[in-house]
Point group: C2
Chain length 320, copies 2
Amino acid sequence: MKALVFNGELALREVTRPKRATGEALIRVILAGICGTDREILKGYSSFSGIPGHEFVGRVAECDDPKWLGKRVVGEINIACRQCSWCLRGLSRHCPQRTVMGIVKRDGAFAEFLALPTSNLHEVPAEISDSAAVFVEPLAAATEILEQIRIEPGTQVIVLGDGRLGLLVGQVLAEAGAKVALVGRHRSKLDLAGRWGMEALEAGTAVPRPGSFRVVVEATGSTHGVEEALRLVEPRGTVILKSTVKDSGRLDFTKLVVDEVTLLGSRCGNFSTALDLLRRGRVHVEPMITKVFPLEDGVEAFRYLQQMPCLKVLLANEGS
Amino acid sequence: MKALVFNGELALREVTRPKRATGEALIRVILAGICGTDREILKGYSSFSGIPGHEFVGRVAECDDPKWLGKRVVGEINIACRQCSWCLRGLSRHCPQRTVMGIVKRDGAFAEFLALPTSNLHEVPAEISDSAAVFVEPLAAATEILEQIRIEPGTQVIVLGDGRLGLLVGQVLAEAGAKVALVGRHRSKLDLAGRWGMEALEAGTAVPRPGSFRVVVEATGSTHGVEEALRLVEPRGTVILKSTVKDSGRLDFTKLVVDEVTLLGSRCGNFSTALDLLRRGRVHVEPMITKVFPLEDGVEAFRYLQQMPCLKVLLANEGS
């Protein structure tokens, strides 16, 4: 099959189809999304080599359990041991033995086929299109915030970053009742935020008052964003770190202690919650698709992402 | 009156007695404690100039309200406006207009007298000695953790730092039902921790397993301690920053996000809680007193602190 393989550099290669282990399904990928983490991987994040890609929608091609055959699915990206204390506590996303599809020691979705345990799969309801379903993984990550902190109706939230993650987080928190402002650098992305009920602020021109937000979400993917988040959060407020950055950064510990700020790391979330939001049409995702490339042009797609202010670039498996 | 005055350097000076404003009491200091924050102030923290010192026990010498006259008191260190939304929400410790005795724009306790609003005062019950009462402020800061997070009985907690703050935090959390380990570098201090029911670990020799503690308390006062705390905390665990350090430090944001760690700044706490713990004899404080200097030898006391591994050095106002 064709796949994008990263091994210090990214290239389209002909590789053997993944062998599925017992309990796994072989899935023909329909669409895969390129994520900020994929771009970090190409810079060395997680020392990954193999086939990247962890956002996908596909169709089950082979499986032991006949009920999954032919089903349209999305899949949770952490493959856990299912036996350790983390897994038994329902926190398999933190299983220390886990592999992570396309990120840690396991091939991912930038290929014609991928293999995943059926226990990781969620069937996609008919109401959700392929190009919406490919957003389930990042949308689930956005909803994770609601599992971690309580958002009171009317809570003043500011989201830093007008990328795809920022726009998803902003929508999810607004849907949960927060008053959301979103700061970004790109007119077209800010227009979407405005259209979707957020107060859109252009970075550098609109300067929010320091210490005036109960909750600040850092979704810029830069260490500078964390400094800015600390500046904007009110005493006893919460800064949520959503983006994975390869670098470590400096932090003003005194501000953290004196203002008793909470800094909260937030990663993957619940797929069922995300599927439910999409099925009920509560979040907008398809307007974020900037361009769809065929899988064969994947290297070109990454180059395009580097040059253009994109929201979401997808790879389509034309054979599907 | 005599006072230690910091103005780029610390010196004993003869200064005028503080003028008390309406609603304030003039207090004759009995004992004052030197805290890590005072040493940071001498390095430039908070750009303070004036009389430092914020841990004290004293006796009310003058006051409009006769009920306070002659009472033995301790005093909350944040002097708030009592009118802003923070004050009205009961969070006057975060009032943006606040001054802080001996730390921010207000003279402190390294003097014969100090002035404080009577609303900041707590009478010291007869069961508590002067040399225990002088620990109320730092003990209150230690109990603040219990206001911020829930400690389930049996929770595995590790405290980094065998200083006075670490030993107070360890005792408070053990009293709340946690299983507490404490890491330090000084045999004599670790012996106290062991005697007070904690597992005492010598830094560098006993190496706890990474990612094995639900709660890690950073009380070393060094930015390196924060790195170590992040290494020791388990996924979804909490790192509590207790010490005020002047420098900012580097932080591994990826670890924070991937492991969904909570980093929580924690500062001043509730004086009533601390007084209650002392009255009921639930924490040990007096064995932490390394040496008592007369106020007149305050400069010498700071020099002594720099050279010796001390727990708590006090300044006594011999006139009291």
